[in-house]
């Protein structure tokens, strides 16, 4: 059986509704919120600021440090115990690597730029939503960047390639592959790629192409949100 009608009626290449806003956390140096469907990610950036303990410092350049966290009440089932899990640690790391290629911290030796990603409500695609929010927050904080980073989870269900899986699709009974992808929208380079599930070599190619197409639209939304904050007049 082919999966050609999506559970929530979306087109195969259609994302859930997206909303983005920049500058929502007053105390942070940069901040943003990114919503895709029922998934909500907040991101706050602090820094460049002093990094302690000292042995973590890099005398050549500033370092980027990302912390991804699901709020205790943000899961689909039971309460998520606070304090970070192995999953959260891994996502923090891959998020860091997804953002690192676009930022330049060579002017800030021994310093750190902290990115905090928090999710109050989740429905799949959280690491990608976090990356989108974090990229906007970094730009809002005035960190030198050569591009934004736009991310989306594409996937493949029973041989059909689709964009932005929700929780029901991830849990679909069939051959499901979940493929989070982060893309530098101007160069088309890929800074995050993960996959779990089963997918053919052909489908993975199509899925990455679809991610490129979909992130173009996400990029426009991120850019618009940044422009809206720095609009003059009104």
């Amino acid at each position: 059986m082919t999966y050609n009608k999506r559970l929530d009626g979306r087109k195969l290449d259609e994302t859930r509704p997206i909303e983005a806003k920049v500058g929502i956390i007053e105390r942070a140096d940069g901040s943003a919120i990114f919503k895709i469907g029922q998934t909500i990610a907040y991101a706050a950036v602090y820094g460049p600021r002093n990094l302690y303990p000292k042995f973590m410092q890099d005398p050549q350049k500033g370092i980027l440090r990302v912390n991804y966290n699901m709020m205790p009440f943000s899961g689909h089932g039971e309460r998520v115990r606070p304090g970070g899990s192995r999953r959260a640690k891994e996502i923090s790391m891959v998020t860091e690597k997804a953002l690192l290629p676009v930022i330049d911290l060579s002017d800030f030796p021994n310093a750190v730029v902290d990115v905090f990603i928090e999710l109050p409500q989740t429905d799949a695609g959280t690491r990608c939503a976090g990356i989108c929010a974090a990229a906007m927050a970094l730009a809002d904080a005035g960190i030198m960047m050569k591009d934004l980073v736009s991310a989306v989870a594409v996937g493949c269900i029973d041989g059909t390639v689709i964009a932005d899986l929700n929780y029901d699709e991830e849990a679909f009974e069939g051959k499901v592959a979940d493929i989070p992808v982060a893309i530098l929208p101007n160069s088309g380079e890929i800074s995050l790629l993960q996959m779990d599930g089963e997918v053919s070599q052909e489908n993975i190619k199509d899925a990455i192409e679809l991610a490129k197409k979909v992130t173009k639209n996400i990029y426009e939304i991120q850019k618009q949100a940044l422009k809206d904050k720095f609009k003059v007049g009104e």
Binding site: I24, I25, E26, R27, A28, Q38, I40, Y42, A44, Y46, R49, N67, N69, M71, P72, F73, S74, G75, H76, G77, E78, R79, P82, G83, G84, D114, F116, E118, P120, Q121, T122, D123
Partner: protein, 260 residues
Amino acid sequence: MKMHSELRKHIIDFLNKGLRLDGRAPLEYRKPIKVEYDISKSAEGSARVQIGGTLLMAGIKLSLEKPYPDTPDAGNLMCGAELIPMANPEFELGAPGLQAIELGRIVDRGIRESHVIDTKKLCITPGEKVWGISIDLIPINDSGNLFDASALAALAALKNTRLPKLENEKIDYLTRTDEPLPLSDAEPVSVTVCKIGSHFIIDPTEEEEKVIDARLTVASMKDGTLCALQKGGEETLTSEDIDKMIGIAVEKANELRAAL
């Protein structure tokens, strides 16, 4: 305290003229005081409270638990705060520090001792199975006065809570029923009154919090009954001070309730 002696002097100079640094009167809340409900569909109940620049979320998760041995026929309640580093550059990752523990416990006591939740009605099988309520408090932006924002958010989230469906004594988290929690109309909220020099102020900004001598957090119910108190800060209070501070808190609590 010495670190901020200049700031403290400046704030007291202003208060001597009846003013705050942000132009408010001493006993005036920042605006807006805003409560939004159902901000997280993953939670069984949730709310986001804004007091001026301070933003804080509260979320409720329900679970099935064994009752405590001393209350075999009552549901369980847990309330905790996480001061995430997103909200304030001084907060750090890791296990909750003293500040977070105190915050969680004050809100816990305000809710618990007001008996706003009829926990007897949360018993499923006495001694065996009861509903457990977890309240998680998470600031998004800390511009001061997390105490009052937290207590208000906790109550709002409790009001927003709907029980999930029970199937064969298991929770189906994806299906919420229309059934609210068994809440009374006690409406416990907290107002924290701070003393700085000879002045009393409410709703301190994060700057003012650094230089206060003492604070008293007063949780009170709609009928004026007190349900929890917590004195903080390094300096002492006189019984006249406490009398005055409780009077202020009970009166100002109505301004918070109006936002519910």
